[in-house]
Amino acid sequence: MDLFLDFLAAFGRQLQSPTLSFLLGGMAIAALGTRLEIPDAIYRFIVVVLMLRIGLGAGIAIREADLSDILLPALAASVLGVGIVLIGRLTLAPLSGPRPEDGIATAGVFGAVSASTLAAAMVLMEEDGLRFEAWAPALYPFMDIPALLTAIVLAQLARARSAPVAATAGTAPGFAPVPARGATRPRIGPIIADSLRGAALSALALGLVLGMIARPDPVFHSFYDPLFRGFLSILMVIMGMEAWARLAELRRVAHVYAVYGVTAPLVHGGLGFGLGWLAHLATGFSPGGVVLLAVMAASSSDISGPPTLRAAIPSANPAAYIGASTSIGTPVALLSIPLWIALADVVFAL
């Protein structure tokens, strides 16, 4: 009981985080009909700087890290990515209407990771003094890519089953050279490559490699790190405005997506916390690292996942997965960060 009260107190304290207030503020001014628009060029620059910052920080840390420490958490991340999508396949997809692809793609987006949620968690933990292995943010792609791959494979299987003669020539549009015929095995390599070529993951990977081999510590400390928190506050305003704007879209798809958008982050975050806790017991993965893993699991991809899915599962309706993720999943995941921090406070008796 005491533990629960402690938890509630910690949660309440966390919820007042200024970072989250920018998110709510963005929603509020959008709801009030503001004409404020953050230019797209600024948004894209912010994403690049945040991802470079996360990559550089992790890369610098990996230089000194014991690689064997990373193995187990990376495995946990991949298991979460695959597992979340499988859960979605079994729960959301059957409920989501005649076309299972919509549900599968949505599960893929929720299995993947949101860069902005990850960044927000890093700042909130810093505000709270909760430390994590500096390489922990680099677990991102270990969860993101397996989740997207799993969704794509499941979608192909679903289509192969539903239309065994698959005569439609729904050729893959755009850059991802995925064969559309149901019978063909999906080619994994090109999808991974395509995924890594997206703007966010490219920047993360660039930062990671430079951090590991180029000693960019001066520019990291004089530029990337100081801008991190400020750019994140602007990004939160954008995410809030966007969440509000997409709500209308969500209304056009089945009700179940909204339910999934609210519950999935909490369930997935709980799973992430649990697996992270096992890694803590096994190899001493830090409490902060456990929280980050929970946040990645809870988050749903808003920037880089959707285009990969759109290219590879052209028959899935983007209004479903983008609406569920941007309008509900991401705000819920962001607001759940304090939950995982408070849980860590209690579980690890910080």
Binding site: E37, I38, P39, D40, I42, Y43, R44, A169, G170, T171, P173, G174, F175, A199, I238, M239, E242, A245, A248, E249, D302, I303, P306, P307, R310, A311, P314, S315, P318, A319, I322, T326
Partner: protein, 104 residues
């Protein structure tokens, strides 16, 4: 002085831009222009200059002036059948007169 030609205009999400450009190249079209924009359609609103979380879903207009109307029609046909079947996007043709006909 001028030569009649046709202009093929394609409005799609940026995601499909590479596919459209591949089609144009394969059809031997000598050039085209690209203009970023926004729009409203069956798939809802795409804002023009404001932050858009997913850049690949932004709207672009691709314009290609071509000499050979039949070629333009073939490109449009392939596009609408193969790529725009369940995707955003519209295609139209309009008459133009060009100078320096050799360029097209």
């Amino acid at each position: 002085m001028t030569t009649p030609a046709v202009k093929l205009t394609v409005i799609v999400e940026r995601l499909l831009k590479p596919a459209v450009e591949r089609l144009l190249t394969e059809a031997g079209v000598s050039g085209w222009s690209v203009f970023p924009g926004g729009g409203m359609g069956a798939h809802g609103l795409h804002r023009a200059e404001a932050a858009q979380l997913v850049r690949e879903f932004a709207i672009v207009k691709i314009e290609a002036v071509v000499h050979d109307r039949a070629a333009a029609e073939r490109i449009a046909e392939t596009l609408t059948t193969d790529h725009l079947a369940d995707q955003s996007g519209i295609v139209w043709l309009s008459p133009v007169e060009v100078w320096r006909a050799g360029k097209f």
